[in-house]
Structures are given as C-alpha cells and as structure tokens.
Symmetry: C2
Subunit: 215 residues, 2 copies
DNA sequence: TCTCGGAAACTCGTATACGAAATTCGAAAT
DNA sequence: ATTTCGAATTTCGTATACGAGTTTCCGAGA
C-alpha cells in the first residue's frame, strides 16, 4: 500500500539533496555554493541546480551575494526565535484541530514515536532524537488536516535543524521534553483538546529556554 | 529614500508575472499553462518559465498533471479554511509583537491605510479594498519583526486573493471590517497589546462567516 | 617591496538544442 | 460509421552553448 512514487525530476532531487546537505551542516554557513561544483557532485547539469537554488533562495536557505552566486545562509538567531514565536501560536492550534481527528493507527504511530524518542534519549543519539521530535510534531500537523500548517512547518523544521545542528543540546534533547510529548499525546488520545493544546503551548513556550543561548 | 532596486532576474520577473496573473484570475483554474505559450507572452525563453513554474508548483498555485505540464490549481475551499485557521492563530500573535514596536511613521501609514480602505469601500471598489486589506495586515506583519510571519502570510494572501476573486463579496468588503481594523489599530497605538490581539482574534474568527459559502 | 592596470579565467543567467514521453490525427479495417 | 493502430506533432525535462559581468593573477612601474 505504498503511495505511488511520483518519479522525482532532477530539479526536485537536486533541491532535496541540497536542502538536506545544508540543514545537516554539510555545507557550512557562509560557504559559497557554486553551480558547477554542485552539478558535478550530483552528476547533473547546471540547469536543475540553477532551479533548485532559486527555490532555496526564496526560502532563505541561501543568500544571493549579487556578484558570484549564492552562499549558504548564516544560522540566524533571529530566525530561530521567529520560528518559535510562530510555533507558540501554531502548535496549540494544530493540537486542537488534530485531537478530534485522531485515529487508531495515529494513536499507534504516536505512541511508537514517543517510545522511540525516549529510547534514543537514553542511548544518547542526538540526531535520532531530533528526528523523533520532528516526527512527533509532524504527526500532529498531518492529523490537523490543515495543509498550510503541514507545508509551513516542514520548511520551519528544516531551519530549526540548522539551528540545532550548531548547538549539541537542543530543545528536544531532554527527558522533560519527552515526558511532555507523552502527556500531550495522552491528552489528545483522551479527547481533551483544550488540555492538550494548553500542554502544547507551555511545551513550546518553555523549549527555547532550554537551549544554550549565544549571539 | 527608495530601497535600491535589486535588478530582478527573468526568473523572478516571470514568477511574479505568473503568480499575479493566476491570483488575479487571468488564468482560470484548471487551465493548462504551456511553457512555450508563457515564454512567448512574456518574451523570454522557456528556461526562466520552467524555473518559475517549479516554484509555483511547490507553493500549490499550479498542479503537476504528470503528463503534459501543469494546470492552474483549482480554487480550494479547504485551502481557504486552512488559511483562516492559521490566521486565527498568527494574526493575534503578530499584533502582540507589533504593538510595542510601533513607530510614528507606522502610525501614520496605518491610519492612511484604514482611511483608504474605508474610502474605497464607499466608492465600491472591491479590488482596491482587497489591496487595502492586504496592506493593513501586512503592515502589522512587518511591524512584528518576525520574518517568518511576513513570508508565510505573503504567500497565504496570494491564495486568498484567488479565493476572494471567485466571490464578489469577500471578508474585507464590509464596513464592519474596516471599523474593526480601525479599532485594532487604535488599541495598538495606545499600546494595549492584549486588547488589540483580542480584537484581532475576533476579527479573524468572524471574517469567514461573512463570505458567501459555496462548495 | 608595494601598487596598479589589464588580460585571462571563472561563474552566472539565459538562450538554444536535443531526446523522450505523450497526445493527436488520419487511414485502414470492421 | 466506428474503431484501432501507428506515425507525426506537441511539449516537457535536461543538456549544452553563449554572452556579460567579476574576480583573479601577474607583470610593469613607483
């Protein structure tokens, strides 16, 4: 029952590869992204690379220097804070919308994610925990039935991956967070949307305080 | 004191032209968008058109048919509702953030927009009123100092333009709305962020009820 | 040694070319 | 008249080519 593979174009593959490389920190902030260089690395012509970079530019992952191509955008504390401000408003909404739409399969999947996150916490696997964090929140976005939330937050999480890659300790990297995830999800399962949303609100509001703060 | 013109590339110009044409309803939903056709119409080669369409695809303004190019996305009531759900969360936040950052020039500009919107209401100019509506909310996004809000809502308003182009009466097309705008802005000017945010919340929550509802 | 000028090399944006997939259209068969 | 099969046409995705603007580099002059 796999959704049919849409046969990605080279532009899409290039975009995905670049975005992932940037967010995983394989390209350093400020580093120049040459089209020839990327094209050779991915074994495509410059044409798909040019298109992909245009999209990354519109999404603030790279910056146009005006003269010779683009550079990887610096990791911006302002952007990080902007995203958390937005999350403080969007996440509780997503929970409200998702709670009455939760399904047995979703419950199963949610519990699996919480268990996985908690387990990876114990085995001290930062990137695994981050992925579980993303998965947990993305599950809620998808359950919300709101396509705008899904799309918007997908991009925002990519930005967050960058910020969190810089510091080893990130908001999801504590036991407290996974206790909160569990509590939020339990409230959702029990159908108490208001309680779940309130728990989510404080979850997000407290999260940035847990990050090491630096200019 | 004009910001220097960034010398837009053909890709950007093509993207802007296509987006505006789609949102203004010049291309009908479901209509095929041929690259050659667009290229000729804008006097550019297919290359910038291809890039621009790739971006529009990622932003849901056009849909890939898989076989021969793309079609203009149908105006989707679900999308409209999703955006209003998001706005119900984002707009009050934007007001909270913007209120303590308001400047004398911003006050001047805000009053000008409200006056213009009210005036165009009276002269029965729907597209002018819509533009004033967009301007009013965009001013608040910009004052919020939150780049994510600015970027996200710019795209969302383009989607809304499409929805509202379908129905002659849209949420901004009533006197009540402009009375509310004025009240919100006055609360912001007086520095009462909580009151302004509350007023904005009900402004957004009530708005969709004012639109003619149709499948 | 340091500065300056200009030529060579690089890199990007855009145009054009090419191959593959899909659609269209017409002719032959029923 | 209708259906079917395949060749011609259309159109896209991607590669390659080209022109313009920048940067780099090196040698001449101070």
């Amino acid at each position: 029952m796999e959704a049919i593979a849409p046969a990605k174009s080279l532009v899409e593959k290039t975009y995905d590869a670049l975005l992932d490389a940037i967010c995983a920190g394989e390209f350093r902030p400020g580093e120049r992204l040459g089209q020839d260089e990327v094209a050779e690395r991915l074994n495509v012509s410059r044409q798909p690379v040019n298109s992909a970079i245009a999209m990354l530019k519109a999404q603030r992952f790279v910056i146009d220097t005006g003269r010779r191509g683009v550079i990887v955008a610096p990791v911006d504390r302002q952007l990080f804070e902007s995203i958390y401000q937005v999350r403080s408003a969007i996440e509780p909404l997503a929970v409200e919308l998702a709670t009455p739409r939760i399904s047995p399969e979703a419950i199963k999947r949610g519990r699996e994610i919480v268990a996985r996150g908690t387990r990876l916490m114990q085995s001290n696997d930062p990137s695994g925990v981050l992925q579980a964090d993303i998965d947990f929140h993305t599950l809620i976005y998808e359950l919300s039935g709101n396509a705008i939330i899904v799309d918007t937050m997908r991009l925002n999480w990519q930005h967050l991956r960058r910020s969190m890659g810089e510091v080893l300790r990130f908001p999801g990297m504590t036991f407290q967070v996974w206790k909160e995830h569990r509590a939020i999800f339990n409230a959702m399962v029990s159908g108490d949307a208001a309680d779940a949303a309130a728990k989510m609100r404080s979850h997000i509001t407290e999260a940035p305080r847990r990050v090491v703060r630096e200019a």
